[in-house]
């Protein structure tokens, strides 16, 4: 078996080197990926078509918004999958190993104060990252992860149940679903207004401004949707994994 593994690795490595032989040079302006009309269009037309200065955001949330919607669904699926596999419903099912009984101590002063200071700043920064995706690197995925991290910090500093007082399990799942509904909602709205799915241009009927503004605003909208889902699923995955699916005592 070990020999077969080595052989596979060697063959794969040989193939990768073979593939590399015909690559364009590093940073080559004339490489197909930079010179083909696809990149040219994105570079020259993005602002005219969508009035979004950050073309990465425009490609991600508009030109290829269909992909991004499903990337969000991948994250949602991961959350549901972990609940499906790990979660133990009801109290009568015994855990595999004896439950750790934590003695309720008064939380540590230093930890408590640090969290109190940090969490609002983390959350504010997350919102900034989401909102600023149009102009700088950022957007729903990054902002969502940062926002989710603030809840995880809360759960780590105190315990899972304390964090769940603020964000209970069913509410967190609702949040995740709402995020996808926001994203798909822009698509369905454009369907109903007579355009193709996710054709933000036809949304001028309900979004103020011209076609460019409709694109720009819709992109902000879908980024917010992504942020909702990512935030919720981050925390959901953490709570399922850290408590073996019992949602009681976490780490």
């Amino acid at each position: 078996m070990k020999f077969l593994g080595l052989l596979t690795v060697l063959i794969t490595g040989f193939l990768l080197i073979q593939a590399e032989r015909d690559f364009p040079d590093w940073g080559d302006v004339n490489s197909p990926a930079s010179s083909y009309k696809l990149s040219q269009h994105y570079i020259t037309q993005t602002f005219a078509e969508t009035s979004v200065p950050n073309m990465v955001t425009a490609v991600l949330a508009d030109y290829r918004g269909y992909d991004t919607m499903f990337e969000t669904v991948v994250i949602f699926t991961a959350g549901i999958a972990i609940i499906g596999i790990l979660r133990v419903f009801g109290s009568n099912i015994k855990p595999d190993h004896p439950e750790v009984v934590l003695t309720k101590k008064k939380p540590d002063l230093i930890v408590e104060t640090t969290c109190r200071l940090l969490i609002p700043i983390i959350q504010l920064f997350a919102l900034y990252v989401v909102a600023h995706g149009h102009h700088s690197p950022g957007g729903g995925f990054q902002g969502g992860v940062i926002f989710g991290a603030s809840f995880i910090l809360l759960a780590l500093a105190r315990d899972l149940q304390y964090a769940q007082q603020w964000v209970p399990e069913n509410r967190i799942l609702n949040l995740a679903g709402i995020g996808i509904f926001i994203y798909a909602g822009f698509g369905v709205a454009s369907l109903l207004l007579g355009g193709n799915f996710l054709d933000y241009g036809v949304l001028t009927a309900i979004i103020p401004g011209d076609v460019k503004d409709a694109h720009s605003h819709s992109m902000l909208g879908v980024e917010i949707g992504v942020a909702f889902t990512v935030t919720a699923i981050m925390f959901s995955i953490y709570s399922s994994l850290s408590s073996n699916g019992h949602m009681k005592e976490g780490i």
């Binding site: 593939a19 490489s31 197909p32 030109y63 549901i80 499906g84 979660r87 369907l191 799915f197 036809v202």
Partner: protein
Amino acid sequence: MTEQAPILILLFPFLTAIFVALLGAKVPAASWPLTIASLGASICATLTTLIQVLENGTIRYYVGGWAPPFGIELRIDGLNALVAVTVATVAFLGAIYSKDRVESETENKGPQYYALYLLLAAGLLGIVITGDAFNLYVLLEIAALTSYALLAMGNKRATLAAFKYLIMGTIGASFYLLGVGYLYIKTGSLNMVDIQEQLIANGLQDSSTVQVAFIMITVGLWVKMAFFPLHAWLPNSYAFGPTTSSSIMAPLVTKVMIYVMVRMVLTVFGPVYAFEVLDWGNIVVWLAVIAILAGSIGALAQKDLRKMLTFLIIAEVGYMVGGVWLVDETGMTGAIYHIISDAFMTLCVFLFAGIVFAKTGARDIYAVDGLFKKMPITMIGFIVGAFSLIGIPPTAGFFSKWYLIQGGINSGNWEYVIALLISSLVNAVLFFRIIEIAYFGKKPAEGHIHHHGDDHTKISEAPITQLIPLLGTAAIILLIGIFNKDLVAVIQDFLEPFNLVAGIR
């Protein structure tokens, strides 16, 4: 709204999945009706699309209103319209079957199960209808993630098997993604049709990067479709997962991957490149022969009913991969036809295995002992599926095998023809053994004693939600067989522009 039908195919199951996941905590009972309704609506959308394709030719739907290659397009021609109808129908029938079984097999996680089930259906439908190589990867991720979870929701053994599947599946998907990445480096495009145009326009026929891309994509898909010897993940994960999960995954996941392979060969690289420039000769056909024989021998060795069927899937994958690489129009017709008929016959026998398991709780083939008396209607459904796998007319399996064999003869690949015939004989042995046990009982001597005094055996059929999908599938297998001419006409219309003359090499 008919011009929006392509996107609706996928939107119905996708949005309902999210809805089911949210509603599940409060109203778990609503999950099943919602699942059925959305998949039913999806079937309507696929049929509308198929009719449109037959009337007006290829549909190109620009998602987001951006023309390709700038945006993503859904591109539906005769091939994927047929596969989409198949996927939606199989998912619908499998969902009906899930109703009674899902609670007991997944530890009261019905809503999560249905949400993942619908997402899997949406992912597979998305893979089938898309015209964008990268979009295909994104949906592949959804289909793969949901598959792992659906299988792992069963018992402990299933979880371990699903973990192995996760490792293998991820490697396969990474190979595919790497291949798409290489294509992008050399062409600057991700749209399937556009990639082929760029490959020809830039004279990239001899580029080693493109060759490696082709190898990476093909091998990645082979891992995903469990083509021997990359099949090791399949038998245990399908045999030990919940019967409800394997009743959608066994028919669909491998077949959709074969569809993707056909699509890559024909639409992305083009048959000239795949078969002439990169002349792999008979290697792939020989690999397919080995796969067919290995699958058949593996099946003969099994006593566990579902595990036996999983080895048959491996043999069937060999049929189709071989059929594609016969480089013959009839062979390709047979491979595509077989995607459709195999989806339904695999569903049929897996539903039967599920029903037997539900009724008796036993996994081995002797569980079917005396079932002709107890469950005559179920057995009729099973016999249609079994006959189709053996290849007895007028079932679908006979006609698809007919075209495959014809293709093998046309292209002079006799080893493939012989392997196919041996495998059909093995299938006959396997299924007639089951039919014999079901009819005469476990041991001939014992059966003889009971022969006269068997009146106490009462008929106790499977519940109606398990019978309807089984009989529905059986009926579809017969219909596909009887209307084989129309189906083949659609497939050949699709294949005509590719000019796959016999003996292209």
